[in-house]
Symmetry: C2
Subunit: 204 residues, 2 copies
């Protein structure tokens, strides 16, 4: 299979992007990050990208706070295409992507969610799991579809909830698993050895 040509969209620290960079540099993932886009001008993910010599830029999504405006989405697609991206990686991107991006990259937009979906879609899912009283939390990497955190699942990993967990300590342990799960899921995609049957991602 050809090397994955990744475009990464983020809003925050970029620790998931870092885990992908690390996996690529360690030879565990046959991919290249072609461009990093952030909807927050001073997001740390941009700083990380620059440090690794990865092309990156701010994507102006104003005036919206939680979705991609049509113009910004078209801009985003244009930048991804010009960079030669074949697979779009959402890495802490705090906006709902819409149909134009999904149509531009059918079956090639991937997201990571800090919960064992279908439990706890939406925001601060680690807090939701804690409030629910779950003894297991976790992380899910999935293909993005038109719903919220609802697409076919590639990888899930469980994280034990400890008696003394706060939202912060639980979130930190979930992030450790995120950094394993995302490169693992992208490796599956890079291998090409999967097919989607209904909602099931059949691997191997």
């Amino acid at each position: 299979m050809a090397k994955l040509q990744l475009g990464v969209l983020g809003s925050g620290s970029g620790s998931n992007m870092q885990s992908i960079v690390d996996a690529i540099e360690a030879g565990r993932l046959d991919a290249e990050i072609k461009v990093v886009l952030a909807d927050v001008p001073d997001a740390k993910i941009l700083e990380r990208a620059r440090r690794h010599g990865i092309p990156c830029q701010f994507l102006d999504c104003s005036p919206w706070k939680t979705k991609l405006a049509d113009a910004a989405e078209l801009d985003c697609i244009r930048i991804l295409r010009e960079a030669g991206v074949d697979t779009v990686v959402l890495a802490g991107f705090m906006r709902i992507v819409k149909s134009a991006l999904l149509e531009a990259y059918p079956g090639r937009v991937i997201n990571i969610h800090p919960a064992l979906l279908p439990a706890f879609p939406g925001i601060r899912s680690w807090q939701q799991a804690l409030d629910y009283g779950c003894k297991l939390a976790g992380v899910t990497v999935h293909f993005v579809d038109a719903g919220t955190d609802s697409g076919p699942i590639i990888v899930q990993k469980a994280v034990e909830v400890r008696e003394d967990d706060t939202p912060e300590t639980l979130h930190a342990r979930i992030q450790v698993q995120e950094h394993l799960a995302y490169p693992e899921a992208l490796s599956i995609i890079a291998s090409g050895r999967y097919r989607i049957e209904g909602r099931r991602v059949r691997i191997g």
Copy 2:
């Protein structure tokens, strides 16, 4: 703490009851099963109970198929009380228990559900997890409240979904974890070392 005095309600093979009997006999659980009730006259759980010398009987719940009729529920409570039961264990009991039983045994009715709740409440949850395309399934032991599979969680265990899993193979692996989880949860209750804060069961 005093030894748990268990009443077990079942409808089927009684493999969860067997795991509790085994844990008691191995000295891993400080409990005694005082009575076993089944709503199916020839349920294998009754045969198992007899084999271990545990008092047991058929609980006639007709004409209802999926709930406990008022008369049957009062009958059930009377039998449990007469047997000296302090903790009610639902072990594959295919009926919704109602408020009379919950009021008779407040905070002392326990259920096991073959899914990582809150995902996949209801029936054939292993099939639901497979159809959803989950990569992790599991089991939850919880206190019973007025909802369906919604009470505070005592123990959860994850089970990997394999690529070649059928509903039957996945269910079989979930049952292995059920048989670990139920004695473990009852040991926590027997120890008395827990408290319920909101929805969280704080152990230790």
